[in-house]
Structure formats: structure tokens, C-alpha cells
């Protein structure tokens, strides 16, 4: 190799230096939070660190079938008193963790910690059960033992409506408690349907914009962009005004006599409303990539197809459509991924079925259940990445064209 001169070496470094800030930015704002989220979903040391002695005894000496020994009750009582004197908040955090595994036991902890301080006890099992008879329930002790494991897959099991049965097998939870699998499926169903609707509606618009005279195409483009610039909430609310029972569309249908006044159509608070509103809101993300691809396609190709004897349908399917595919892929991917994360619009116009998986993520994050929120997020993220890999395998990511 010939020795590199100064300008060549510098020429290589400049692009790297230029992207360095972005790489650092992504590292700090994206990769690092993702990593910590992944950790949150499998690691929780709150109970193990607060009640180390109790957890150790429960893991090592307890038979799991009868009430724990007096030694374990005494250890728990002493650790409760010690920890709550140091810092009154740690017991609340333990209560929070155990209550997730054994619902209805949060208040046991605060009550017990408060009362223990004023009691000189010799028989701790009797004393604790006297303070609150839930200390007599095996389930609570199982909960403490499980919550005491620093690493666990319980968040992932929970996020897939699974649980570990008493025999140690992974089983589905009871029918009426299954919450998440339905939501993933519904979320994917909504995202796929919205993507297809956006494509069916967006392609002709993109085509019209690309092939119209400059003036008309400018007007059409503005018509696509104005809603794009409008606040999401404003657009969702406008759909409510249009679709509701006493709304504009129903009023018009009643006025022209197509619908009886007492039989107004249910256009919202159902899946129909969700799909209509989300499709309209996400349409620009489909139109713009397709338009930019179509716009750069020389019109001579279609003329060539025609002059070689293709009828308009053949010309479209064999010449026009294949060339527009990079835009179609890009638009579909954008719309699909954005639709997966939507929740305000479905929540407002979707009625009882308006809850999508993002609503549950938001709920758990707000209620300090970061572990479960993180597990659900990771499941969604991994599914999207799998879809992306499949897309790459079948179609090729290099076929994607955003402009």
C-alpha cells in the first residue's frame, strides 16, 4: 500500500468525527436506557437487600408446605424493626413488591412494622399473626420468598399471561385474569389494518401528486401536510365531532333521510372509529415516501411500456408498481411501527376495546412497576425486530427508500 498522505488521513477522520456526536447522543439517550430497561425487567434486589436474613432462611430451611418456623418469624420481625427505624420508606417498597405477587397484602407491612416497635414479644409467630392474620397465609410467605430472588423471569411470565404453578410448571393464568396476549394481538391487528388502509388510500394520492401539474400537485401536497402539522389531540377530537352519534356525519345522514333519527350509526367507541382516526392521522407517513419515489421516476418508462404494447394495467403492474415498491416498503414500515405505539387516539375513540398494549406500559411505569413495564416493552421491541429481520430476509432492507 502506498503511504497515506496527510489529507487522505484527515479525509478519513472527518466523517467519523462528524458522526461521533450522533453516536454519543444515541448511546446516551437510546442504547443506555434500553440496557437499563432490560436489566429492570429481570433484576430487582429491593426485597433481597431489605430482608436478607429472612429471604435466606426461607430459601434454605423452609419446607414451603407448612408455616415457617419460629426462627423465620423472629428474623422477619427483627429485620422489619431494624430497617423501618433506619428508613421508613424501605418497608413500603418491600410491601409494593410482595403485593404484586400476592395481591391484597400491602397494608400488612406498614401495620406490622408500626405495631412491632411497641411490643416486647417472645413468641414471634403468635405475635405477628396477632397483629395481622395474613401472616398465617402460606401464600404471603411464598410471595416473600419469590420477591427475594434478585433475578427472575416473573415479569416476562406475567407479561405473557403465564405463571409458575405450585408444582413448579409454567401454566397460563386463569381465563379472566389473562390481560396481555389479547392486547398484543389487538395492537398488531390494529397496526397491520391501519397500514393496509393507509396504503390503499395513500398510493393513489401519492400518484396524483407526483403526476399532476405543478400547481395542482403543490395544492395536493399542502392538503396532505396541513393535517400533519396539526396537533394529534386536535385531530382526534375533530374525529369525535364528526363520528359521534349526534355528530356531523350522522346529522347529515339523518338530514338526507338515509338513516332514521333513532337509529343513528355507531361510528365511534368501536374498532371502526379507531381505524378511521388512526388511518387519517398516519396517512402522511405513507403518502410522503411513496410520493418522493414516484416523483423521481422518469415518465418515459410508462410511455416506453405503452409503446411496446402494454395495456395500462400491464404497464402499472409490471413497470410502475415494481419501481414504486421502495416507497411502499418505507411508508408501510413507518406507519406500522408508529401505529404499534399509538394509544391516545384508540383510548379516546376506541371505546371498551380502545386499550392497546402501550396503555398498559404507561400504567405500569406510572405505578412504579418498572419491571413489568420494561418486560412488556421488551416483548414489543423484540417482536418488531423479528418482523424487521423477516422483512430484511424476504425483501431486503436496502430496497427501502425514504426519499
Amino acid at each position: 500500500m502506498k503511504p497515506q498522505n496527510y489529507s487522505e488521513r484527515r479525509g478519513r477522520w472527518i466523517p467519523i468525527m462528524l458522526v461521533a456526536p450522533l453516536v454519543a447522543f444515541i448511546g446516551v439517550t437510546f442504547i443506555a436506557p434500553l440496557g437499563s430497561m432490560l436489566k429492570e425487567s429481570v433484576y430487582d434486589a429491593e426485597v433481597a437487600n431489605t430482608l436478607p436474613g429472612t429471604v435466606a432462611l426461607l430459601t434454605q430451611t423452609w419446607d414451603r408446605e407448612s408455616l415457617p418456623s419460629e426462627e423465620i418469624y423472629r428474623k422477619l420481625a427483627s429485620e422489619l424493626i431494624e430497617r423501618s427505624t433506619e428508613d421508613r420508606s424501605v418497608i413500603g417498597k418491600v410491601a409494593n413488591r410482595v403485593n404484586r405477587l400476592v395481591p391484597g397484602t400491602r397494608s400488612v407491612w406498614g401495620k406490622t412494622a408500626r405495631k412491632l416497635k411497641n411490643i416486647e414479644a417472645s413468641d414471634f409467630r403468635a405475635t405477628l399473626i396477632d397483629i395481622d392474620d395474613r401472616w398465617e397465609e402460606l401464600e404471603l410467605w411464598h410471595g416473600i420468598r419469590q420477591a427475594g430472588q434478585k433475578f427472575s423471569s416473573r415479569n416476562y411470565l406475567h407479561a405473557l399471561d403465564l405463571e409458575v404453578s405450585d408444582e413448579g410448571n409454567v401454566v397460563r393464568v386463569e381465563e379472566e385474569k389473562r390481560a396481555y396476549v389479547t392486547l398484543y394481538l389487538r395492537t398488531f391487528y390494529v397496526a397491520v389494518t391501519v397500514t393496509i388502509l393507509c396504503l390503499l388510500l395513500g398510493y393513489p394520492i401519492a400518484n396524483a401528486i407526483a403526476n399532476a401539474s405543478p400547481t395542482v400537485s403543490k395544492i395536493l401536497l399542502i392538503l396532505v401536510l396541513i393535517p400533519f402539522w396539526t396537533s394529534l389531540l386536535a385531530r382526534t377530537s375533530s374525529w369525535i365531532v364528526l363520528l359521534q352519534g349526534q355528530g356531523v356525519i350522522n346529522d347529515i345522514l339523518v338530514a338526507i333521510g338515509w338513516v332514521q333519527d333513532d337509529q343513528r350509526l355507531s361510528l365511534m367507541y368501536n374498532m371502526f372509529g379507531t381505524l378511521v382516526a388512526m388511518t387519517q392521522i398516519l396517512l402522511p407517513f405513507m403518502v410522503l415516501p411513496i410520493y418522493s419515489v414516484l416523483n423521481s421516476m422518469p415518465p418515459s418508462y410508462m410511455r416506453a411500456a405503452a409503446s411496446l404494447g402494454a395495456n395500462p394495467i400491464q404497464a402499472f403492474t409490471r413497470v410502475y408498481w415494481p419501481q414504486s415498491l421502495p416507497g411502499v416498503y418505507a411508508g408501510s414500515l413507518l406507519v406500522f411501527i408508529l401505529a404499534l405505539g399509538y394509544y391516545i387516539t384508540p383510548a379516546l375513540v376506541g371505546g371498551t376495546k380502545g386499550q392497546l398494549i402501550s396503555n398498559m406500559i404507561a400504567y405500569h411505569i406510572n405505578n412504579n412497576n418498572w419491571g413489568l413495564g420494561a418486560a412488556i416493552s421488551m416483548i414489543v421491541l423484540v417482536s418488531v425486530m423479528l418482523l424487521y429481520l423477516l422483512f430484511d430476509r424476504w425483501i431486503g432492507i436496502n430496497k427501502l427508500k425514504l426519499s
Binding site: P103, R106, E176, R178, L183, G351, K353, G354, N366
Partner: protein
């Protein structure tokens, strides 16, 4: 062309310098003490501001910075755990008060001295049961009730909680909030469970099943709302026949917007509005002074004369009088008025703190089936 930017840059620099100098000169003069108070916005917050925020500022000279939030402990927890607390006082929901107090996110107030009532009643006796706790000072009683638009009924309007679940007598849509709280209680009350047995019933698996079965009977007719502003809108548009709602929102629509709405008080679920101090508040002393000011009967009545949220001190009841904007008598509109209090359930915050996680999941699962 290339001179102009240089000039403007240096002028900009001068302006900025001048601004900084002026700021530095005037800041000490303006550096009055202030506290940050966080509430829910809307007509209720306005009532609190006019009711006693302004008089607090006048009496103490401490400025109140008002911020809004949408409930939940997430923001309080983030501030406390990062050690960067910039909220002083927050108006929280009852279960969040319980959880926040247990987790040490809130200041303990058991040594806070509250003023006696005007008639000399000591504070502990004057406050309604459950409206004071180790970490909170109550302000108002509010209720979730059923409301309907009088225009939707020509004859025989609904009158009881059972009517809300009766699709045969009253076919049409119903609005409920997208959370299990209150809805499960309503379902049991409508199913004939006496109000004093509601939480005992809900503590059993069969009781929870019973509540969900009752809700299931009207599920196909449900419209779900999220924000307190939605129910009055749903009624005004006659989008629903009846809806659950906060009584103050309906009162506001009845009086200020002149809507023909009617409240069904039967089976109302009552709760307390409460102030808490965030643990590690930078203005703890002033925040505690604020709570002592809130506790004045005149402050509580100041709110009650602007919106139909009742005072939590018995002694303030005598000060409840005319609605300040419209002049109507406030008392018949209060959830605590004897005529409205025939069948009342007080929400059990401790119970919900224990069961919220489990029931919220089941409720979402039920909704999405």
C-alpha cells in the same frame, strides 16, 4: 452586508449583558419566598385558587407557583428518589396518599398543629373521619355520582344506582371511567349489596366475580371516559344516556353552562381531596404554613362557595352559603347534604392500595375481551 451581522451580534451581546445586570440588580428585591403547589387544573383548581390561595399570599407574603399534573405518584417518586425535589405541595388521590406515605415519598405531618374551628372545636374532632392522616390534610369531599341529561327522558327518569345497570327500563349507552375504582363499588351497590358491606364483599373472589358480572351485563353499551371533562361533554352531546361523573363537574355544567343535567346521588362513592407535602420539600416550613391556612374553615368554605365540593370540617359547613358566580344556594348541591347522603359509600383508600394492581389488570382484561 457582512458588517451588519457583526454589529447586531455585538448589540445582542450588549442587550444580553444589560439584561443580566438588570436581572441581578432586581432579583434580590423580588426574591420573595415562594412555594410550588401542584393540582389538577380545571374549575376545581380555580375554586381552590380563589378560595384560599390568594388569601394565603396576602396574609403571609409567600408567593404560590401553581403547576398542574394528572395524578399518580410517578413524578413525586422521581423527584424524591433523585433528591431533586421542586414540588412542595401536591393534591393527591386517596390511595396515592396511602402508598406515598408508606414508601416515604411524603412528609409526615403528625406534629402539624391545625387551627381550631371558629366555634372552638379542636381540629381532630372537627375533621370528618378519614380526612386527616399522618401524611395528609383533607380539603374537600367530592363524589363520583351518576348523572343524566334531562332532555334524554320525557317521563320516568332514573333515580337509583340499580337504574344505571337496568337496560330494560333505560335502554341506551352508559359512560364509565377506564379504571376499576368506583365502578366495582357501583356494580355491587346496584346488585343490592349494602354500602357497609361493599369492601368486605370485594375482598372475596366471589365478590369480585359478582361485580364484574354486573358490569358485564351492560358492557355492550359502555362508553369509556378518561378525563373528568369528558362526562359533561358526553351528556351535552347526548352521546350517552347516563354516565358516572365527578359531582363538581356536573355542578359546573348545570350552573355556569346552564345544562339540564341531573345528578343521581343514590349510591354515590365519596372521597376526600387531600394536600400532601413531598418528602424533602425545599420549603417545608412555608408548606406547613400553607396547610395550616388550608385548614381554616374560611378557606374550606371559600372553595365550597365556588364549586360543589363540600368542606371536610364540620365547622365550615355553617359558612357554606351562596354560589359566588351565580348566587344560588350551594348547600343542596353538596355531596354531604343530608338529602343527598341517604345511600353513600366512602371510598376505602387502604383497600384500594392493596388491590389496585390486581384489579386494574383484571379490569383492562375484561374491557378488552
Amino acid at each position: 452586508m457582512n458588517v451588519a451581522p457583526a454589529t447586531s451580534t455585538s448589540e445582542l451581546g450588549k442587550t444580553v449583558c444589560a439584561a443580566i445586570v438588570i436581572f441581578m440588580i432586581f432579583t434580590p428585591l423580588n426574591a420573595t419566598e415562594s412555594i410550588t403547589v401542584v393540582s389538577w387544573g380545571g374549575a376545581a383548581q380555580k375554586a381552590h385558587e380563589d378560595g384560599y390561595f390568594h388569601s394565603f399570599e396576602e396574609v403571609t407574603g409567600i408567593e404560590i407557583q401553581v403547576t398542574e399534573y394528572n395524578g399518580g405518584l410517578a413524578q413525586i417518586r422521581a423527584q424524591v428518589e433523585s433528591g431533586n425535589v421542586n414540588w412542595d405541595l401536591v393534591s393527591v388521590e386517596s390511595q396515592d396518599k396511602v402508598i406515598g406515605c408508606d414508601e416515604g415519598l411524603l412528609e409526615v405531618l403528625d406534629d402539624l398543629e391545625l387551627p381550631d374551628g371558629p366555634d372552638g372545636t379542636p381540629a381532630e374532632e372537627d375533621y370528618l373521619e378519614g380526612s386527616l392522616s399522618d401524611c395528609s390534610v383533607g380539603t374537600i369531599t367530592w363524589s363520583t355520582i351518576i348523572a343524566y341529561n334531562a332532555n334524554s327522558f320525557e317521563t320516568d327518569p332514573p333515580t337509583t344506582m340499580a337504574d344505571f345497570f337496568d337496560l330494560e327500563k333505560f335502554p341506551g349507552k352508559r359512560g364509565i371511567r377506564r379504571i376499576p375504582e368506583v365502578n366495582l363499588e357501583f356494580a355491587l351497590i346496584a346488585d343490592g349489596v349494602p354500602v357497609d358491606e361493599v369492601y368486605d364483599t370485594l375482598s372475596t373472589d366471589e365478590g369480585v366475580d359478582q361485580a364484574f358480572a354486573k358490569l358485564d351485563s351492560i358492557k355492550d353499551f359502555l362508553v369509556i371516559w378518561e378525563a373528568g371533562a369528558q362526562p359533561p361533554q358526553l351528556l351535552a352531546d347526548q352521546e350517552v344516556l347516563m354516565t358516572t361523573a365527578y359531582n363538581g363537574r356536573i355542578f359546573n355544567a348545570q350552573t355556569v353552562e346552564k345544562q339540564p343535567f341531573v345528578i343521581i346521588w343514590d349510591g354515590q362513592v365519596r372521597d376526600y381531596g387531600q394536600w400532601v407535602i413531598v418528602a424533602g420539600s425545599p420549603n417545608l416550613k412555608n408548606a406547613r404554613r400553607f396547610l395550616q391556612h388550608v385548614a381554616l374553615s374560611s378557606s374550606l368554605a371559600g372553595v365550597a362557595n365556588r364549586i360543589s365540593y363540600g368542606p371536610v370540617r364540620r365547622s365550615a359547613w355553617d359558612l357554606v352559603d351562596k354560589h359566588i358566580p351565580t348566587g344560588i344556594d350551594m348547600r343542596p348541591h353538596m355531596p354531604t347534604h343530608p338529602d343527598n347522603s341517604k345511600n353513600v359509600l366512602t371510598s376505602d383508600a387502604e383497600w384500594w392500595a392493596d388491590h389496585k394492581d390486581e384489579l386494574t389488570e383484571r379490569f383492562s382484561a375484561w374491557l378488552s375481551k
